[in-house]
């Protein structure tokens, strides 16, 4: 176990193993998202109340899931970096932040656009919407802090602290629909209990959620490798590598 962890903290080993893993996640992401899109947009039945605007769910829910999961992953990576000083964890945290911000933006944008025909308004200071907006600002804060210092290490530590503190917002987002009954509807999927939707509606949603998670893993692997090339550019093995890569 320790041998494995020691290997894992070596950027060189990570660079090699991620190259092998990456294609599987790209293929899975592409296939799941393509099938989910065609199924969700063209074959799933229209909602009896909302009609076809309900199809926004197939991008809204996966993006909202990822927005929160990415923040949690980033906070975990920040703990690993701060406690064990593992550089690769900080590199992963650094590349996760922009994708997390993009996902939060997609969730907010698609929600606003969905709100117009459904609620008659694109925005309300509802607990779920507000806590998601705070999440977006937390992502911006993490990104800005990382770049705000002359030394990379100070930036990494400041961003890590904000990620670890900001993760408090995640349970607030999750339970916001139960603590405050305002506008947003409760969860579509729960671990226990039945889904309040017919199979033809939730199956494409499940595919999209899995596809988005695969996309997150694939992109994080790819960009962590970029980050290794950037930060380790003086290392002999990276310089030897550059001769052979295109």
């Amino acid at each position: 176990m320790w041998a494995f962890i020691n290997k894992l903290r070596s950027p060189r080993w990570f660079y090699a193993i991620s190259a092998r893993l990456q294609p599987y996640f790209w293929v899975a992401a592409t296939a799941l998202i393509l099938v989910g899109t065609v199924w969700g947009l063209a074959f799933a039945p229209a909602d009896y109340q909302q009609g076809n605007s309900f199809r926004i769910i197939y991008v809204h829910v996966p993006a909202a899931f990822l927005a929160q999961s990415i923040f949690v992953s980033m906070a975990v990576a920040a703990v690993v970096f701060m406690v064990w000083k593992i550089k690769i964890a900080d590199m992963a945290a650094a590349v996760m932040a922009p994708l997390g911000a993009a996902m939060t933006f997609i969730a907010l944008f698609s929600g606003a656009v969905w709100g117009v025909p459904t609620w008659g308004t694109w925005w309300m200071w509802d607990a779920r919407l507000t806590s998601m907006l705070i999440l977006l600002f937390l992502y911006f804060g993490v990104i800005a802090l990382r770049g705000a210092f002359a030394s990379r290490d100070s930036g990494s530590r400041a961003a890590s602290v904000l990620a670890m503190v900001g993760v408090i917002n995640i349970p607030i987002i999750k339970y916001s629909v139960e603590w405050w009954h305002t506008l947003h509807q409760p969860a579509t999927f729960t671990v226990t209990g039945r889904v309040a939707m017919p199979l033809e509606m939730w199956a494409p949603l499940l595919l999209m959620v899995l596809g988005f998670y695969s996309f997150f893993i694939a992109l994080t692997l790819m960009r962590t490798r970029n980050e290794i090339l950037r930060r380790e550019s003086r290392k002999r093995w990276v310089r030897d590598l550059a001769g052979g890569e295109h």
Binding site: S10, F215, R234, G243
Partner: protein, 70 residues
């Protein structure tokens, strides 16, 4: 199939602006992230190669990082 024709599909039962703008924004950001990551990688490799060539031309061995292969 939930639609009778292609026009019907694009119209989304009158909800076209909402459905298509949400999907377009998602597609834009997902594809944009992939393109960005690829451009970033190409750029980093090009920079590494350029520096390697320059240092070879100068002929002086650059200062080695003693913490190689950590």
């Amino acid at each position: 199939m939930a639609f009778v024709s292609l026009q019907d599909f694009f119209a989304m039962g009158g909800h076209a602006p909402y459905v298509w703008s949400a999907w377009a924004m998602t597609a834009l950001l997902l594809l944009g992230s992939v393109v960005h990551a690829r451009v970033e990688r190409r750029q980093l490799i090009r920079d590494l190669q350029r520096r390697e060539r320059r240092e070879r031309r100068v002929g002086s061995e650059p200062a080695r990082n003693l913490a190689d292969d950590t």
